[in-house]
Amino acid sequence: MNESREHLQTLSDIRSMMERSSRFLSLSGLSGVSAGVIALAGAAVVYMRVGLSSYSGSYYGSVGNSVSRSAADQFFVTVAVVVLIAALLSGVFFTVRKARRQGQSVWNQTSRRLLWAMLVPLAAGGIFCLVLLLHNLIWLVFPGTLIFYGLALLSGSRYTVRDVESLGYCEVGLGLLALFFPGYNLLTWAVGFGVLHIVYGLTMYYKYERSPA
Protein backbone atom coordinates (compact mmCIF):
# COMPACT_ATOMS: atom_id res chain seq x y z
CA MET A 1 0.00 0.00 0.00
CA ASN A 2 2.79 2.34 0.95
CA GLU A 3 4.61 1.47 -2.21
CA SER A 4 1.56 2.28 -4.28
CA ARG A 5 1.41 5.73 -2.74
CA GLU A 6 5.05 6.19 -3.55
CA HIS A 7 4.45 5.39 -7.21
CA LEU A 8 1.48 7.73 -7.35
CA GLN A 9 3.70 10.42 -5.89
CA THR A 10 6.30 9.71 -8.58
CA LEU A 11 3.66 10.08 -11.30
CA SER A 12 2.43 13.38 -9.92
CA ASP A 13 6.05 14.61 -9.65
CA ILE A 14 6.57 13.79 -13.32
CA ARG A 15 3.38 15.55 -14.27
CA SER A 16 4.23 18.71 -12.33
CA MET A 17 7.76 18.74 -13.76
CA MET A 18 6.34 18.55 -17.30
CA GLU A 19 3.92 21.39 -16.57
CA ARG A 20 6.46 23.57 -14.83
CA SER A 21 9.05 23.20 -17.57
CA SER A 22 6.76 23.96 -20.47
CA ARG A 23 4.46 26.63 -19.06
CA PHE A 24 5.12 29.89 -17.25
CA LEU A 25 2.99 29.44 -14.16
CA SER A 26 4.03 32.45 -12.10
CA LEU A 27 1.61 34.77 -13.85
CA SER A 28 -0.19 36.47 -10.98
CA GLY A 29 -3.94 36.95 -10.88
CA LEU A 30 -3.33 40.23 -9.07
CA SER A 31 -1.58 41.63 -12.13
CA GLY A 32 -4.82 41.08 -14.04
CA VAL A 33 -6.79 42.88 -11.34
CA SER A 34 -4.41 45.83 -11.19
CA ALA A 35 -4.30 46.16 -15.00
CA GLY A 36 -8.11 46.13 -15.04
CA VAL A 37 -8.40 48.78 -12.35
CA ILE A 38 -5.89 51.02 -14.14
CA ALA A 39 -7.75 50.59 -17.44
CA LEU A 40 -11.06 51.49 -15.80
CA ALA A 41 -9.49 54.59 -14.27
CA GLY A 42 -8.17 55.59 -17.69
CA ALA A 43 -11.58 55.09 -19.28
CA ALA A 44 -13.14 57.21 -16.55
CA VAL A 45 -10.66 60.04 -17.20
CA VAL A 46 -11.42 59.98 -20.94
CA TYR A 47 -15.15 59.86 -20.22
CA MET A 48 -15.04 62.89 -17.95
CA ARG A 49 -13.05 64.85 -20.48
CA VAL A 50 -14.79 64.01 -23.74
CA GLY A 51 -17.93 62.02 -22.96
CA LEU A 52 -19.13 58.59 -23.97
CA SER A 53 -20.14 59.14 -27.57
CA SER A 54 -17.04 60.96 -28.77
CA TYR A 55 -15.47 57.95 -30.38
CA SER A 56 -18.49 56.68 -32.23
CA GLY A 57 -18.71 56.23 -35.97
CA SER A 58 -20.90 59.31 -36.32
CA TYR A 59 -18.34 61.35 -34.44
CA TYR A 60 -16.79 62.91 -37.52
CA GLY A 61 -20.14 63.96 -38.92
CA SER A 62 -21.34 65.60 -35.75
CA VAL A 63 -18.27 67.53 -34.70
CA GLY A 64 -17.34 70.32 -37.02
CA ASN A 65 -14.45 71.77 -35.10
CA SER A 66 -11.38 69.85 -36.25
CA VAL A 67 -9.09 71.56 -33.76
CA SER A 68 -10.99 70.28 -30.72
CA ARG A 69 -11.25 66.89 -32.41
CA SER A 70 -7.52 66.44 -32.80
CA ALA A 71 -6.99 67.78 -29.28
CA ALA A 72 -9.39 65.17 -27.97
CA ASP A 73 -7.65 62.46 -30.01
CA GLN A 74 -4.31 63.50 -28.61
CA PHE A 75 -5.67 63.47 -25.10
CA PHE A 76 -7.09 60.00 -25.64
CA VAL A 77 -3.85 58.60 -27.08
CA THR A 78 -1.87 60.05 -24.18
CA VAL A 79 -4.19 58.46 -21.64
CA ALA A 80 -4.05 55.14 -23.51
CA VAL A 81 -0.24 55.11 -23.50
CA VAL A 82 -0.09 56.01 -19.78
CA VAL A 83 -2.61 53.25 -19.01
CA LEU A 84 -0.63 50.73 -21.05
CA ILE A 85 2.66 51.53 -19.30
CA ALA A 86 1.13 51.60 -15.80
CA ALA A 87 -0.71 48.31 -16.42
CA LEU A 88 2.45 46.63 -17.71
CA LEU A 89 4.51 47.84 -14.75
CA SER A 90 1.97 46.66 -12.20
CA GLY A 91 1.62 43.34 -14.02
CA VAL A 92 5.37 42.77 -13.98
CA PHE A 93 5.51 43.76 -10.31
CA PHE A 94 2.93 41.20 -9.14
CA THR A 95 4.30 38.46 -11.37
CA VAL A 96 7.87 38.97 -10.16
CA ARG A 97 6.57 38.92 -6.59
CA LYS A 98 4.72 35.67 -7.15
CA ALA A 99 7.71 34.03 -8.84
CA ARG A 100 9.95 35.06 -5.93
CA ARG A 101 7.51 33.58 -3.44
CA GLN A 102 7.49 30.34 -5.41
CA GLY A 103 11.27 30.44 -5.42
CA GLN A 104 11.42 30.43 -9.20
CA SER A 105 13.14 32.69 -11.65
CA VAL A 106 11.06 35.08 -13.73
CA TRP A 107 13.34 35.17 -16.71
CA ASN A 108 13.59 31.60 -17.92
CA GLN A 109 12.83 29.57 -20.98
CA THR A 110 9.07 29.47 -20.38
CA SER A 111 8.69 33.21 -19.84
CA ARG A 112 10.82 33.91 -22.94
CA ARG A 113 8.59 31.62 -25.00
CA LEU A 114 5.46 33.25 -23.58
CA LEU A 115 6.70 36.75 -24.40
CA TRP A 116 7.76 35.76 -27.89
CA ALA A 117 4.42 34.10 -28.62
CA MET A 118 2.62 37.29 -27.59
CA LEU A 119 5.04 39.71 -29.18
CA VAL A 120 4.26 38.98 -32.82
CA PRO A 121 0.48 39.57 -32.68
CA LEU A 122 1.00 42.54 -30.35
CA ALA A 123 3.56 44.20 -32.63
CA ALA A 124 1.39 43.59 -35.69
CA GLY A 125 -1.61 45.02 -33.83
CA GLY A 126 0.36 48.00 -32.58
CA ILE A 127 1.54 48.94 -36.06
CA PHE A 128 -1.92 48.33 -37.51
CA CYS A 129 -3.51 50.66 -34.96
CA LEU A 130 -0.87 53.36 -35.40
CA VAL A 131 -1.63 53.38 -39.11
CA LEU A 132 -5.35 53.63 -38.34
CA LEU A 133 -4.56 56.69 -36.21
CA LEU A 134 -2.54 58.19 -39.05
CA HIS A 135 -5.56 57.79 -41.30
CA ASN A 136 -7.83 59.36 -38.68
CA LEU A 137 -9.78 56.15 -38.21
CA ILE A 138 -9.64 56.34 -34.44
CA TRP A 139 -13.00 54.60 -33.91
CA LEU A 140 -11.49 51.46 -35.48
CA VAL A 141 -8.57 51.54 -33.05
CA PHE A 142 -10.81 50.43 -30.19
CA PRO A 143 -11.97 47.12 -31.72
CA GLY A 144 -8.53 46.71 -33.31
CA THR A 145 -6.64 46.75 -29.99
CA LEU A 146 -9.14 44.32 -28.42
CA ILE A 147 -8.91 41.85 -31.32
CA PHE A 148 -5.12 41.86 -31.58
CA TYR A 149 -4.71 41.69 -27.80
CA GLY A 150 -7.06 38.72 -27.73
CA LEU A 151 -5.07 37.00 -30.48
CA ALA A 152 -1.86 37.63 -28.54
CA LEU A 153 -3.41 36.00 -25.47
CA LEU A 154 -4.56 32.99 -27.51
CA SER A 155 -1.09 32.62 -28.93
CA GLY A 156 0.53 32.99 -25.50
CA SER A 157 -1.89 30.68 -23.68
CA ARG A 158 0.03 27.63 -24.90
CA TYR A 159 2.92 28.70 -22.68
CA THR A 160 1.13 29.66 -19.50
CA VAL A 161 -1.94 28.84 -17.41
CA ARG A 162 -4.74 27.57 -19.64
CA ASP A 163 -7.25 30.12 -18.34
CA VAL A 164 -5.58 32.80 -20.44
CA GLU A 165 -7.14 31.13 -23.47
CA SER A 166 -10.68 31.93 -22.29
CA LEU A 167 -9.71 35.54 -21.70
CA GLY A 168 -8.32 35.64 -25.26
CA TYR A 169 -11.56 34.36 -26.77
CA CYS A 170 -13.55 36.93 -24.79
CA GLU A 171 -11.33 39.81 -25.97
CA VAL A 172 -11.51 38.75 -29.64
CA GLY A 173 -15.29 38.26 -29.44
CA LEU A 174 -15.79 41.61 -27.75
CA GLY A 175 -13.56 43.33 -30.32
CA LEU A 176 -15.55 41.87 -33.21
CA LEU A 177 -18.80 42.81 -31.51
CA ALA A 178 -17.49 46.36 -31.02
CA LEU A 179 -17.11 46.70 -34.80
CA PHE A 180 -20.89 46.52 -35.12
CA PHE A 181 -21.58 49.05 -32.36
CA PRO A 182 -19.14 51.90 -32.90
CA GLY A 183 -21.23 54.17 -30.67
CA TYR A 184 -20.17 52.23 -27.60
CA ASN A 185 -16.43 52.16 -28.22
CA LEU A 186 -15.32 53.61 -24.90
CA LEU A 187 -17.68 51.25 -23.11
CA THR A 188 -16.47 48.10 -24.92
CA TRP A 189 -12.91 49.18 -24.22
CA ALA A 190 -13.62 49.63 -20.53
CA VAL A 191 -15.27 46.21 -20.46
CA GLY A 192 -12.49 44.52 -22.47
CA PHE A 193 -9.47 45.92 -20.71
CA GLY A 194 -11.08 46.77 -17.38
CA VAL A 195 -13.88 44.43 -16.36
CA LEU A 196 -12.61 41.29 -18.14
CA HIS A 197 -9.13 41.69 -16.62
CA ILE A 198 -10.56 42.10 -13.14
CA VAL A 199 -12.86 39.07 -13.50
CA TYR A 200 -10.03 36.97 -14.93
CA GLY A 201 -7.57 38.16 -12.29
CA LEU A 202 -9.89 37.41 -9.39
CA THR A 203 -10.72 33.99 -10.82
CA MET A 204 -7.02 33.19 -11.12
CA TYR A 205 -6.28 34.54 -7.68
CA TYR A 206 -8.90 32.44 -5.94
CA LYS A 207 -8.14 29.37 -8.05
CA TYR A 208 -4.36 29.23 -7.73
CA GLU A 209 -3.00 31.70 -5.21
CA ARG A 210 -5.14 31.93 -2.16
CA SER A 211 -4.00 28.96 -0.15
CA PRO A 212 -6.99 27.13 1.30
CA ALA A 213 -7.26 28.41 4.87
Binding site: T10, L11, D13, I14, M17, M18, S21, S105, N108, Q109
Partner: protein, 98 residues
Protein backbone atom coordinates in the same frame (compact mmCIF):
# COMPACT_ATOMS: atom_id res chain seq x y z
CA UNK B 1 4.56 -8.75 -8.98
CA UNK B 2 8.24 -9.57 -9.01
CA UNK B 3 8.02 -9.72 -12.73
CA UNK B 4 6.83 -6.11 -12.81
CA UNK B 5 9.53 -5.04 -10.36
CA UNK B 6 12.23 -6.47 -12.58
CA UNK B 7 10.94 -4.35 -15.44
CA UNK B 8 11.55 -1.08 -13.64
CA UNK B 9 14.22 0.77 -15.50
CA UNK B 10 17.34 1.17 -13.35
CA UNK B 11 18.31 4.33 -15.18
CA UNK B 12 15.23 6.07 -13.78
CA UNK B 13 15.66 4.96 -10.19
CA UNK B 14 16.84 8.35 -9.07
CA UNK B 15 14.28 11.11 -8.81
CA UNK B 16 16.60 13.61 -10.46
CA UNK B 17 16.98 11.47 -13.58
CA UNK B 18 13.25 10.91 -13.78
CA UNK B 19 12.74 14.66 -13.55
CA UNK B 20 15.31 15.37 -16.24
CA UNK B 21 13.59 12.95 -18.59
CA UNK B 22 10.15 14.43 -17.79
CA UNK B 23 11.41 17.87 -18.74
CA UNK B 24 13.03 16.64 -21.95
CA UNK B 25 9.86 14.78 -22.98
CA UNK B 26 7.91 18.04 -23.28
CA UNK B 27 10.72 20.42 -24.26
CA UNK B 28 12.65 19.80 -27.46
CA UNK B 29 15.88 21.31 -26.17
CA UNK B 30 16.97 22.48 -22.74
CA UNK B 31 20.18 24.24 -21.79
CA UNK B 32 22.21 23.19 -18.78
CA UNK B 33 21.33 26.38 -16.95
CA UNK B 34 17.59 26.10 -17.59
CA UNK B 35 17.68 22.55 -16.27
CA UNK B 36 19.64 23.65 -13.23
CA UNK B 37 17.09 26.38 -12.44
CA UNK B 38 14.16 24.08 -12.89
CA UNK B 39 15.45 21.12 -10.90
CA UNK B 40 17.27 23.12 -8.23
CA UNK B 41 20.37 20.90 -8.38
CA UNK B 42 24.01 21.82 -8.02
CA UNK B 43 26.23 21.93 -11.12
CA UNK B 44 28.12 18.79 -10.18
CA UNK B 45 25.05 16.84 -9.21
CA UNK B 46 23.19 17.71 -12.39
CA UNK B 47 26.23 16.98 -14.55
CA UNK B 48 26.57 13.51 -13.01
CA UNK B 49 22.95 12.62 -13.71
CA UNK B 50 23.13 14.02 -17.24
CA UNK B 51 26.26 11.99 -17.95
CA UNK B 52 24.58 8.81 -16.71
CA UNK B 53 21.59 9.40 -18.97
CA UNK B 54 23.87 10.20 -21.87
CA UNK B 55 25.78 6.96 -21.33
CA UNK B 56 22.52 5.01 -21.42
CA UNK B 57 21.86 6.66 -24.77
CA UNK B 58 18.68 8.33 -23.51
CA UNK B 59 19.74 11.91 -24.09
CA UNK B 60 21.93 13.61 -26.68
CA UNK B 61 24.31 16.45 -25.80
CA UNK B 62 25.19 19.34 -28.05
CA UNK B 63 27.87 21.90 -27.32
CA UNK B 64 28.18 25.17 -29.13
CA UNK B 65 29.47 28.66 -28.50
CA UNK B 66 27.24 31.69 -28.12
CA UNK B 67 29.72 34.49 -28.58
CA UNK B 68 32.48 33.38 -26.25
CA UNK B 69 30.35 31.47 -23.81
CA UNK B 70 29.99 27.74 -24.24
CA UNK B 71 26.38 26.60 -24.25
CA UNK B 72 25.43 22.99 -23.66
CA UNK B 73 21.99 21.79 -24.66
CA UNK B 74 20.28 18.47 -24.14
CA UNK B 75 17.53 16.63 -25.95
CA UNK B 76 15.85 13.27 -25.45
CA UNK B 77 16.76 10.59 -27.97
CA UNK B 78 14.22 8.22 -29.51
CA UNK B 79 15.57 5.44 -27.27
CA UNK B 80 15.13 7.74 -24.26
CA UNK B 81 11.51 8.52 -25.15
CA UNK B 82 10.70 4.82 -25.57
CA UNK B 83 12.42 3.90 -22.31
CA UNK B 84 10.63 6.66 -20.42
CA UNK B 85 7.22 5.69 -21.83
CA UNK B 86 7.86 2.04 -20.93
CA UNK B 87 8.83 3.08 -17.43
CA UNK B 88 5.57 5.02 -17.05
CA UNK B 89 3.59 2.03 -18.32
CA UNK B 90 5.20 -0.22 -15.72
CA UNK B 91 4.44 2.33 -13.00
CA UNK B 92 0.83 2.44 -14.12
CA UNK B 93 0.51 -1.35 -14.22
CA UNK B 94 2.07 -1.54 -10.78
CA UNK B 95 -0.43 0.89 -9.29
CA UNK B 96 -3.37 -0.90 -10.96
CA UNK B 97 -2.25 -4.20 -9.47
CA UNK B 98 -2.04 -3.01 -5.90
Amino acid sequence: MNDLLSRFNKAFESKARLNIMSVLMVNDVMSFNDLKDLLALTDGNLATHLRALEESGYIAVEKQFVGRKPKTTYRATEAGRTAFTDHLNVLEAFIRNM
